[in-house]
Symmetry: C2
Subunit: 135 residues, 2 copies
DNA sequence: ATGTATGCAAAACATTTGCACCTGG
DNA sequence: CCAGGTGCAAATGTTTTGCATACAT
């Protein structure tokens, strides 16, 4: 019962929120832009406003249900949060997105922030390249 | 004679290009948005269009004269290219930007791309935090 | 001269917001 | 019932583009 997920994070259970959550959970694409989610809903015959999709995604992000990636090119994509931090590899040709975790990099980042006198709040790392299938 | 710099990279030497280059080279701020450069020029009494600033900065980027940073929040900032790759630490409070180079991270990134079958073309790493002065 | 570059205003884009109406608890 | 959520359209902020004019070589 996914309506529990919403209640758990303090969000009223509304139809648009359920629908967006459903799309994010069931779509074959793990990474979707607001526009992607909007179109997917229209395609299934659901009525929703694009502004609502943006609002809902932002609320989900604040609630920790989804993570927002700010990739180059100005548009953001969202993924269901799985609790574990990870970074991303993006294929500049087919736009495939792969995930990775590297504890060495994580540790170096923390060390660098400390060295420079920063209290790290966040970090973003994207590796761009051409994936196996596109070479 | 900086007009040589422009000719060297195949750009016609025009007044707007010289002026933008001058601002980037002489401003106390190493990192400037297109708007910053535009305002700085207006402040010195120069006439220039914002669209021209954007066009010139993009040409400079293509020519390798400047590097573009895509920081969170949707606007880009530019810095004079110094030939050496480096990543950035950004203060979320005062927006100070510091630079760093970490060979361990660079190496891990290359290794990860290889592991995943990617031919790395680029990467971007930003560490966000609160700097010493803002804590 | 002549191909490029510029300035302006308008367009494009992703995202946000104001507001009247609708809805969940 | 009523605070909060939604849809729509309009506003936003940044960057790009069309086009007539101006400039570098």
């Amino acid at each position: 019962m996914e309506s529990q997920d919403l209640r758990k994070v303090g969000l009223k259970v509304t139809l648009p929120r359920m629908k967006v959550l459903e799309i994010l959970e069931t779509s074959k694409k793990r990474h979707m832009s607001a526009e992607d989610v909007y179109k997917a809903l229209l395609d299934m015959g659901e009525e929703i406003g694009l502004a609502t999709v943006y609002r809902v995604l932002t609320q989900f992000e604040d609630a920790g249900l989804v993570a927002r990636l700010n990739i180059e090119g100005g548009h953001a994509v969202f993924e269901m949060a799985d609790g574990t931090h990870h970074d991303h590899l993006l294929c500049v040709s087919c736009h495939r997105i792969e995930e990775f975790v590297d504890e060495v990099i994580e540790e170096r980042q923390r060390a660098i922030a400390t060295e420079k006198g920063f209290e790290m709040t966040d970090h973003s790392l994207y590796i761009y390249g051409v994936c196996k299938k596109c070479q």
